[in-house]
Each structure stands twice: as structure tokens, then as C-alpha cells.
């Protein structure tokens, strides 16, 4: 298999398999969570759970509590930087939009490539910083399991290989592009079965927390 065969393989069968596992796994996990349901509450509550849920979804997305913000300044800032960076890199690069358009049927305007490139660099720096912080912080280190490092690696690899493919570094562009796509496929396959799932469950759980707190009453 030469590098062009490899590129065709990752663009063809491997990509299809990865997306099928990703979509099926994602739907399975979400359906499993939602279908568990909750017991019906017969008691009339004072507050509106829906309102409380929505408020919490918003409130936890901004650094509303000053004390918490100051205590975890690095975690919050670095976390926001790499999450925003990932959004820009994944969804605003022309090549990525072309791919998404081919699968879902519609696209949106792209950013200039060097802007996305700069975001990729900042995102990689932020990701390295949070990894170092995780390793040096005794509590974070104690709480980290192998799965957490796997999740970090599969998030970092597509950025690194994409950056190297764009700048034609180290390997031939075909090989690097192939490795970039392969690393994304790894991410897609692991996504539904690791903590990466938080991208989809995050607002569900925030809503649920808020709904419980906003209910103000006794459950039957």
C-alpha cells in the first residue's frame, strides 16, 4: 500500500465505518439516557423546573461566580480557549465545511486559512497547558484515569496532524493528510464511548441540575 492507497482508504471505507460507529454510538447513548426517564411527580412544585433548568444551562456557561472563577482561573480560561479554538478549527476551515456539506447537504462561510491556522496553534498550546496542569496538580492527577489521557490524545492528534498536513511538514502531504483523517476517525470511533460524550450530555445534565434546584417543592 503506497501513501495514495492509504489516503484513499482513510477517505473511503475507513471514514464510512468511523462515521457509522460515531452516529450509531451517539444516538444509542443519548437514547439510552433519555429512555430511562424519571418518575412522574404528582406534587405541585412552587418553582418552574423548566425555568430553573434553562437558567442553570446559561449560568454555568459564564463565569458568574467570582470566587469560583478566581480559584480556578487557569482551568476556566484554558478550557474556554481550547474549546473555542476547536470550534473554529473544526467548523470554520473551508476544507472541513466542504466535507460537512457533502454529508449533511448544506454549508456556511469559511474563515481565511491563516486565521484558522492561528486558532489551531493557540488551541494546541492550550491543550498542552491543561495536560501539564493535570499532571502537576495533585488532586487532578489523582482523579485522572487512563481514559482521560486517551481523550486528550485523540483530541490533540487531529490538530497536530492537520497543522502538519497544512504546512507540509515532516511527511508527504498525502501521508500527513491520510494520518490527519485517520486520527479524526479514531476520535469519531471513541467519541460516544468516552468522556468526549460530554459535548452532547453537557447541557442535558446542566438542565437537570437546574431543574432540580429550581423546583422548590417536595417530590411525591
Amino acid at each position: 500500500m503506497n501513501e495514495v492507497d492509504f489516503l484513499l482508504w482513510v477517505k473511503g471505507p475507513a471514514f464510512t465505518v468511523a462515521v457509522v460507529i460515531f452516529v450509531a454510538g451517539l444516538v444509542l447513548r443519548l437514547f439510552e439516557i433519555l429512555s430511562l426517564g424519571r418518575k412522574h411527580n404528582f406534587a405541585v412544585s412552587k418553582g418552574d423546573p423548566m425555568q430553573g433548568g434553562l437558567r442553570e444551562m446559561w449560568r454555568r456557561s459564564i463565569p458568574a461566580d467570582k470566587a469560583t472563577f478566581e480559584r480556578s482561573l487557569f482551568t476556566i480560561v484554558a478550557g474556554y480557549v481550547f474549546h473555542i479554538g476547536l470550534f473554529v478549527v473544526i467548523f470554520l476551515l473551508a476544507a472541513h465545511i466542504a466535507l460537512i456539506k457533502s454529508v449533511i447537504g448544506f454549508g456556511w462561510p469559511n474563515l481565511p486559512t491563516p486565521v484558522v491556522d492561528a486558532f489551531a496553534v493557540v488551541t494546541m498550546i492550550a491543550l498542552i497547558a491543561v495536560l501539564v496542569h493535570r499532571l502537576r496538580h495533585p488532586v487532578k492527577r489523582f482523579l485522572s484515569k487512563p481514559g482521560d489521557y486517551v481523550v486528550w490524545a485523540v483530541t490533540f492528534l487531529p490538530l497536530l496532524t492537520g497543522y502538519m498536513a497544512y504546512h507540509h511538514l515532516l511527511l508527504s502531504p498525502q501521508m500527513m493528510l491520510g494520518l490527519h483523517i485517520l486520527s479524526v476517525e479514531l476520535l469519531l470511533v471513541l467519541f460516544p464511548f468516552t468522556k468526549l460524550m460530554h459535548a452532547f450530555t453537557l447541557f442535558l445534565s446542566r438542565w437537570y441540575n437546574g431543574a432540580t434546584m429550581g423546583m422548590r417543592g417536595v417530590k411525591s
Binding site: 489516503l7 473511503g12 464510512t16 462515521v19 437514547f31 430511562l36
Partner: protein, 370 residues
Amino acid sequence: MRTTQHEPHEETLGERLRSQGISRRGFLKFCGLLASSMALAPAMVPKIAAALEQAKRPSVIWLSFQECTGCTESLTRSHSPSIEGLIFDAISLDYHHTLQAASGYGAEEARAEAMKEHYGKYVLVVDGSIPIGNPGFSTIAGISNLDMLKEAAAGAAAIIAVGTCAAFGGLPKADPNPTGAVSVADIIKDKPIINVSGCPPIPVVITGTIAHILTFGIPELDSLGRPKAFYGQNIHDRCYRRPFYERGLFAETFDDEGAKAGWCLYKLGCKGPVTYNACATLKWNEGTSFPIEAGHGCIGCSEPNFWDFGGFYKALSIPTGMTGQTAVYAAAAGIAVGVAAGAMNKKAKMDADSLHKTVTVDELNQESPS
């Protein structure tokens, strides 16, 4: 075309060119072009000239297998009468079934004679792929392509695989490859093979490679067996439209404002980012332009399996097999498994409820046995 008679081989290329009326100036100009296209320093020009002057006319046998003659067309129709054409004329092309005057037994005799006379010294040029699915798919004078290649390769000093079909299998090898087409390098393992890929290759790249063999021997090759001098540059890196790619300005259709303004053709399927060739630097038709300059994306014709890249008009990043429908089926499968998993979880919950033992007040009031 000499098929039955051979001129004395003592004549050097320099003498030959002078007898053809090529001026020293014209000759040096060609050497200069050659040096720049091979990324050599200008100081090398006199050395190339001296080496070419002294080069003996080697015997060349050109075999055409599963091909469209486009590679020969590219070479012969290039810029006529060009100095490249004369250089080509200055080699002893002893067999080329499209160009030679002889036919039938006479032609095959010329091949056999050249192979015998120059055994171990001749240069074998191959265009077209070789079918191994059935030897009868492509034959010349009743001889299968496979047999003829093996026979001719045995006595060759070096093999030049001209065109993507000979170098990598090309169009005949495109999915589903009905003839079982393979490249020269798939069959011949014990000879130096130089892949001059392209569909067709740039004329000066073909003559330049031959000139390199005449002057400096086998050129330095890349991982795909192509001369680095011509295939060391990425089309995308050398493209004059690259600034538009950087700025994120893309033509969306072939006749929109972006296309008229010369914006990047990435979204229209340009394969320049993964293609190595000299089109963007040497260009075609005496340096007039190249496909991207004419408004069409690069199709990646100098790369293996470029026909199966997923469509000439689909952006490089678009997957070849994935469709929205596949994603919908995957989601449906996910829901089906999700329903089953949900039902199992619900059952576990109900089982736990039914096993739950209600404690009565009397039981609570009982004193512990201790």
C-alpha cells in the same frame, strides 16, 4: 525512424545536433532550461552541455501496452520543430510501433535485432499498463504485453515508465480494473525503473529525464520512483492561485465571480495539494499555461490511482464513500439498539422495585435479638 538500418553509434549528440542545424545558442538555451527544471545551479549548464555533447546515441525501445497514445502525442506534438524533438530524434529509437514506418514482421524484427545488438545497454521506454487478468486482453504481434515486457526488460540498462498507466496502472487500473492492469514496477523488480508519470507527462519532463540518463545517469527518485527534479514540487505550493487559498477565497462554480477573478479552485475539486508535478513551474505548450491557469482544477494525474480519488469535481476533503443516507441508517441502527438497551435498563429498575421489601411499623419496633 530507423527500423532495419542502424547508423554508426560513434556519432555523438553534439555532432548530430549540429548536422541538424541546431545553433550553439539554441543548444545552450535547452541546457539552461533543463538545468532550471532539474533545480540545478546555473553553473551546471556548461557541464550539462559538455556531457550532452559527448553523449553517444543510445538505443531506445519503446513499448506501448494498454495506453491511449496520449503520452506519444504529448511528446511528438509538443512544440514542433523543437529542440526537444531533435534530442529525441538524436537517440536511436529502434522500435516504437506508433511512430515507426515498418509494420508487421519487419517491425518485430527491428525490435529483436536492437535487443540482440545492444543487449544490456538499451533504454526501454514503456507506456501503458500491463493486463495480467488474461494475456489475450492486449497483444502485439501475437505476443502478450506481459511476455514482451519481460523479454525486453531482461536486456535493458534502465526502464522509463512513461505516463501514469505504465508508472502506476493508470486508467486501465481504475476501479474495477477489468483487465487486472498493473504497472511496470509491479512486474519488473531487478532493473532501475524511472516513473515519468502524468496523463500525459509534460514533454520536457520526458526529454529531460532521457537527457538526465544520458548526462548523469539515473536521476534521484522520490518514494514513487519519479525523478525528484521534476516531481519534487507540490502543485499547490507552486500555484499562482495560492494566495486566494490562504485568504479563504474560493470559486464555488466554474462561472461565478470568484472563478472570473481567478480564485482558488479547491472547492471545485482541485487535487493540487496532494499532487507532485512540474505543471505549475514548467507549464504546457511552450510554457503558455497549465490546467489551473486555464480555469480547471488539477486532477492529480501524476499520482497513483488518481481516477479513484472520488471525483474530479469534488473537493479533496470530501470522503469518497460516505453519504447522508449512510448516516441516517447508522442513526436508525443506534435508535434500535438504544430502544433495546433502554428496555433492559427499565426492566432492571422494575425488578429492583419488585424485590424491594416493605418494612412494617411492627418490624421497626421489634427489638434487636442481641
